[in-house]
Symmetry: C3
Subunit: 215 residues, 3 copies
Amino acid sequence: MTWVQLAMDLAGVFFFAMSGSLLAARRRFDIVGSLMLGTCVGLGGGILRDLVIGQGVPNAFASPVYLLPPVLATVLVYRFAASEHRYAGALTVFDAAGMALFCISGTQIALEAGLNPVAAAILGLISAVGGGVIRDVVANEDPQLFHPRGLYAIAALLGAGLTSAAESIGWMNAGTGLGIAVLVFALRMVSLRYRWEIPLAARRPRERDRAATAG
Amino acid sequence: MTWVQLAMDLAGVFFFAMSGSLLAARRRFDIVGSLMLGTCVGLGGGILRDLVIGQGVPNAFASPVYLLPPVLATVLVYRFAASEHRYAGALTVFDAAGMALFCISGTQIALEAGLNPVAAAILGLISAVGGGVIRDVVANEDPQLFHPRGLYAIAALLGAGLTSAAESIGWMNAGTGLGIAVLVFALRMVSLRYRWEIPLAARRPRERDRAATAG
Amino acid sequence: MTWVQLAMDLAGVFFFAMSGSLLAARRRFDIVGSLMLGTCVGLGGGILRDLVIGQGVPNAFASPVYLLPPVLATVLVYRFAASEHRYAGALTVFDAAGMALFCISGTQIALEAGLNPVAAAILGLISAVGGGVIRDVVANEDPQLFHPRGLYAIAALLGAGLTSAAESIGWMNAGTGLGIAVLVFALRMVSLRYRWEIPLAARRPRERDRAATAG
């Protein structure tokens, strides 16, 4: 793993840990709960990825440096998180930033482990959304992965797919990576801002028929 | 893995993916959420099984063909799922069908990986119920595995045990497999239809004593 | 694994299985659900630990003897659990006892697998709290790990850290292990009894400012 990849991975852990600690603050957990939840959200997606790849002990356990971002996030939330009504917004921004970084680093790590490009992109997606699902299940909310406002899985899958493609054709470098991350982040935030909607899981023609008849 | 096993495994993935997509439709998730949830439910039990077996990358990632059943299920639910009150019934039928197939294929895969017959049957059970637990936890409902109507874990465990026994004594073939699958499916559906009840986890003698005294 | 370690591990499985079966009784699950939930809670933390260590099939599957404690717990709860209002108290005691044993045995197993002392302590923590998180997520409650009354993660982390330190400097023996287990159990129970409180995840200065102004 290069220094750039490590820095990107640690930054992603930090962003997700912030989203976990902010949730802990919103739910009035204590500071230890904040550290535990931040750690689970920050490291969960990557551990899941490394378990699937199956090449020995996950990064997060092999290198203790991965424990620092959750500690930093807990301290920052304790020190600066002030008004409750801003938690939800900040949580969404940190979640989008973590997703934008992890869909890239997750895909790269999977490719380096020898997975085929399709599987690598799926693993990038899992890295990018795994921590958030843990956070949402703990919060007893419908996970954003399944029930998002705006684009969520699509943005992460696009980033993972572009990374996989760029690596395959040899176009991946720091600039490409930055471009993909900005694209994923922007797509997520814009889709939230303008409330883009995706069709529902079921068309439910009969209800519409009934409505048409009633109308 | 033989063609029969692969076909059975893919059919099981499809049935579980249908149950996930039907839940997504009932909860009014969007079509991407339906695909994500169907994929998690369809592939979750098998990935869990493969992680425990620990022989490299799980099947679902090694062969992209495993991604097709969830896509098909999402399309079918989008196109045909019409009236909400029938979702619950259809979900139960697809779940039972997936369970009937996975308790067999999961046990066989575990035996081929060299596990002892008891552990293989337990892994067959995990394959058969793992995806459903993910679905129910996401839905914030008590998982059927722990709080079923009718027989659930017992039916899956019976199927896994029979498979393990049949493989051990060399009686396993397509006919035996079909017989076990039909038995498990029928047991699940009949126990639901006739509301078979299993004793509660605690006898609670004092409450009964009190009731007897009061009566 | 020595006989002492195996006995300690099985006792930990039994205590966690009791907490799972007691929850099943409280939620009026049936007796099969009690067995399933007890098994998941008793074995979940250890399986998670073994998956991370990544040395072949988890203990719980390799040795069928690990299935006995959950069966025993299910029978005991069915036979003796009587009055509902005592379930919560008993559940907490069994959970604390399981945690006290697993933070030691989990750390030792991770050290034997060659992990560094910090990672081993984290894995001891995961062993000690993993089963309980599964139990609480199934119960749709905020997991104790994130939102405890009293000390929870801190007690487990202290026990895991002391075990890791004692092993590293060669002071680990049956007496040391017993001492650590008693310390962790006592810390958990005393913190509950006297309602020790840890600062919240966020200081929320503005609310306090407002309160000060209002006062």
